[in-house]
Symmetry: C2
Subunit: 492 residues, 2 copies
Amino acid sequence: MQINIQRNIDVSLSNQIYQSIVDRIHSGLLEEGLKLPSVRNLSKPLQVSLVTAVKAYKRLEQDGFITSIQGKGTFVKAKTKENLSGKETTSSYVWQLSVQDYLPRSQFARFHIVPQKVHLSSSMIDPKLLPNRYFEHEVHQVLSKNPELLSLFGEIQGDSQLRCEISEYLKRSGVLSTPENIVVTSGLQQGIDLIARTFVGPGDVVVMEAPTYPGAIDIFSGRGATILTVPVDKDGMRIDILQRVCEKHRPKIIFTIPTFHNPTGVVMTLKRRKQLLDIAVSNQCIIIEDDPCSEIYFEKKPPVPLKSMDQLGHVIYLRGLSKTIAPSCRIGVLTASGSIFNRLLAAKANNDLGSPLLTQKAILPLINSKRMIDHKKKLRTALKIRRDLVLDLLTRFSPEGLSWTVPEGGLNLWISLPTWLDSHLLLSESKKQQITFLPGSACFPIGQENNHLRISYSYVNEEQLTYGITTLCTILQDMISSKTISENTPYF
Amino acid sequence: MQINIQRNIDVSLSNQIYQSIVDRIHSGLLEEGLKLPSVRNLSKPLQVSLVTAVKAYKRLEQDGFITSIQGKGTFVKAKTKENLSGKETTSSYVWQLSVQDYLPRSQFARFHIVPQKVHLSSSMIDPKLLPNRYFEHEVHQVLSKNPELLSLFGEIQGDSQLRCEISEYLKRSGVLSTPENIVVTSGLQQGIDLIARTFVGPGDVVVMEAPTYPGAIDIFSGRGATILTVPVDKDGMRIDILQRVCEKHRPKIIFTIPTFHNPTGVVMTLKRRKQLLDIAVSNQCIIIEDDPCSEIYFEKKPPVPLKSMDQLGHVIYLRGLSKTIAPSCRIGVLTASGSIFNRLLAAKANNDLGSPLLTQKAILPLINSKRMIDHKKKLRTALKIRRDLVLDLLTRFSPEGLSWTVPEGGLNLWISLPTWLDSHLLLSESKKQQITFLPGSACFPIGQENNHLRISYSYVNEEQLTYGITTLCTILQDMISSKTISENTPYF
């Protein structure tokens, strides 16, 4: 178990140790019953005092993550029983526990098998809302004309025909990018990963929004980055705070989701976009612009991407095609300029030698087709109906003390509970009713807040949405009332 | 430009600096004309003496990689003009050059566009030898029955139906693995990468065969590993030497390609396989068993995989399905046990959230079909014919001083030239005749030998093979004769 400690940030060392262990437990990487190192063996390699280690373990015990048994040691209590495979911790494999790894967290690994009924945790689009039969027809056309392509490897950078289509496609959002400056990635996730493995190493400063996309936190912490955070408000990342962070620390990378921010759904204003670019230029740092679903807007079109205003090659732009066009193809796009681009292409070669040709050829006829463009209009309407349904249900049924942001696009809605209410407790209750959502703590790189949750309204149908939201409201009502009752019960 | 220096290995520091810079130039990561740091600025962060830095630069200059201009500095001369994109080093992007990266090498990135006629560098199978029409028919069946799958994300671990089929498939080679212990990867390359990102960090000792697969070297050096090498002979890795290496250094990982070793084509004997496993057990280390194409055997079936004899979970087994079944799907398999498996699954989630569902569903009906099993027999025969053709041509036309190993399976043949002959020089001559191959130096993690080349006989047809091999022989004959002549010319 490796714990990364950062000494130049404002989070106490004991909190960092606490957080690291919680992250690993939430990621299913520390299995129930696993013996943790003694405080002495924990503190020595980390070069922290015994007091610090004791403090971290005490808080972990208070919060129910670990348990100490006199004379035996300290063990993982695992609030959640979903470790990754579980069945297999036979004694023959015990030697493996001493093999150190470099994985501080992995928030999604646990979700690889999801037996629940109502997936409010899935930030994906309901397959019933996508034109599958048309897609199937197009794939058939491509393959029957040229079956030999099934036996070809594609280019490492991505199929050249597809890169031409993508270049056209990006132009519609204002991103001017030549086919030579595009890498086809295996989903947006791989795009973030390629950047991290190329440019982020231990101690490099990465600035992220708080909250932000958990998959990106997993990646940057895996590279040993020093992650600093900047809060978001209704206009996106707080640029005034970013400015102060940059004055004190020299970030190498700023990671942002300016359009329909994940998880809050807010949109960064044009003014802030320009300010952000100026900050990147004056600090000579890289901006990662993560754009998973800017096409899913409900009212007006969002402002132009940062990349469209980037003159000096500071922005690496990542666009997802998976969610809105063809989820089964897992295709993402990375575009950048200059030597930064060259190095990212080399990283793609090292990671997987190129994405599959089949998925690229399959998506080719779709991305700029009139039918798909028309379809997206319908998709926006359908998703707006679902968003409005959720907003309506929340307004009608949510207990007092809840608040939420109204997303102007995207797939997610961010709900804040009273600060004393831990969304992990809500999750374990809601799972009994076959409902899942993303606990908000996963979205904080440091200083995790436990009283939020992310609901995705895009994956399940209206009936399930209604069941899911009303049930969550009922559970919450019960949790809040029982606390009020217990607080008001006189001591006699 | 970051250079990793290892102080506990038998390679001099100046040689390590030399090698790092050559690796970056060969990978297209240092562009022609780029200014290198002064010897003072190079030596300081590396904590090496000025003399060491000067020695490295002198050798680089002697070998034609860099050039010093009095009063101006030292510049990359770039023997090869193929940097990755090249067109774009406009002055607006100059700030990017100071952005440090963590990519010591990437041997394949340069090959992303291959305009040559005769690809003896491509270790892939000629698409004409695969049953494309049958494959196309099967894909059509799957999709027309269930078009909705086009709009679904798969599981992070891999489609559960596919994992069941893979489990059956592996059983035929003696690897007993349950569907729960399989991760579907994006090609074998990603499998190696997942292991490295999970278990390899700066200074961790990785033992590799020398020569070995260049893509694996790229990955481990990218993680800052201390790479040690063990030579191979006709019976595979020299276990006696491995034993001595393990006594001196404590490896965390041993990377091996026991069956039809890439690039040499040799097969590790059963006896050595057992010895290797014993060494892993007594040193408590992980073996990566890389198995790209054990099905392509020409004489007898190779010995059972190491994984089939692994009782204690020491072996992580990687099998490629890309080459022999469906190159356009880029599907690989990783199987391991215990907590090592759990952690690799978490790494898969962090890297790309799972491989595309389309490629997995496409390959599903093929991997255990009778037709595909029958087809593989034909494939073996067709490839044996090509191998025999190359052996025959070499015997008839190669100049004196060449030697080669006879591969009993796989796709590659390893040729050794006289030690004074640099295969990069041969490559630049052969490219003029539209012929490419893999220069052997790419296959050495340390102590690179320049007088080898890897020829793949699987990708091009017999006519092209004949043209390619005879032309290479002619070029070599000329190079050897002209040296002999110049050596024998008296000085007057």
